[in-house]
Amino acid sequence: MSDTQEMVNVYIMGESYMVPDGSTIIMAFEYAGFQLKKGVGCREGYCGACATVYREKGDYKLKGGLGCQTVVTDEMYIAQIPFVPAEKPIYDIDDLQPDTSTFMELYPSVFRCVSCNTCTKACPQDIQVMDYVQAIIKGDIAGAADISFDCIRCGLCALRCPAEIVQFNVATLAQRLYGKYLSPKNEQLNIRVKEVEEGKYDEEIKNMKNMEDRALKDLYFNREIKIS
């Protein structure tokens, strides 16, 4: 960084640090000397590992964001939330049915929702989180799967929920049920799976495994994408 770089003051876990303007929150952490082991992953906004809560100057709102995607502002207060405690019930998807009763059994806390919409406010993915929780109570599992599609399991909603619902695990179950029982079946997929099982692609995969990095990358970036 050059000397002319503008700096801003941020408070990381309550302590003041000067960091370059335009940094993301993760960059600010690292600039300030924190070594992040948990709480960062892809740095691209996909993995959801970098959940952050912050408050900006002059705003009472506690906001949630992805540390790798949110740019710091002057006088921002920041804390990392590397992990949100949540129990995951074990289930066999084959034994379940795609309706409300499954959630009553596995995630009964869903029925504690008070419709405060705090989860939606907290979601860095702009998901209508309350709406997917509510869709489940109304028996609309496909709707829940659809609304929650962009969820990256950052956990911020669950952290703020007064009803202590673990929305992201609930979303996962809704999506699994949708995939298994409700989504339209794709014949093409069955054909392809059969081909894979019959070893049609074994040779190609073997070749790829032995490829140089560079060549593999080229192959990937120059791949043909068919959109029908």
Binding site: S101, E105, P108, R112, K138
Partner: protein, 134 residues
């Protein structure tokens, strides 16, 4: 013969708290028993609705250990009959909330079995959780 009621310090606080939470002037209750007479749940209760009023009035915090406040289903039968226009259902709710707000649930939400989940309507589960969980 008029009696002088002595409240313990703690009890007076308790009464004040329940009066505030319920919005009811519990000391107005004259113990006529109309509420208990009409309550459809009275057989399931350990103390009667009018006794809840009495104990709270006297600041007897043991009222919080009675089953009655959990059995009261807010059916509002007493609400529409009290000659003093008091609302026992609100007092019950205030007592329940006093317990619940210490983060103590009165139901284990994980107890709903697969069979029960398949039967029970959402309306039952949502309302039970509202009344029995903190």
């Amino acid at each position: 013969m008029p009696k002088k009621i002595k409240l313990t310090d703690n009890g007076a606080e308790f009464l004040k708290q329940i009066e505030k939470l319920s919005g009811e002037t519990i000391t107005m209750c004259d113990q006529c028993g109309t509420c208990s007479g009409g309550c459809p749940f009275v057989e399931e209760m350990d103390i009667m609705p009018s006794q809840i009023m009495r104990m709270t009035m006297l600041g007897q915090m043991e009222v919080l250990d009675s089953k009655t406040m959990w059995i009261c289903a807010s059916c509002f039968t007493c609400t529409v009959r009290c000659p003093r226009l008091l609302d026992v259902s609100k007092v019950s709710e205030a007592l329940r909330q006093t317990k619940l707000r210490q983060a103590i649930d009165n139901i284990n939400i994980d107890d709903i079995s697969k069979e029960e989940a398949e039967e029970l309507p959402s309306i039952a589960v949502v309302s039970a959780f509202r009344k029995f969980t903190s």
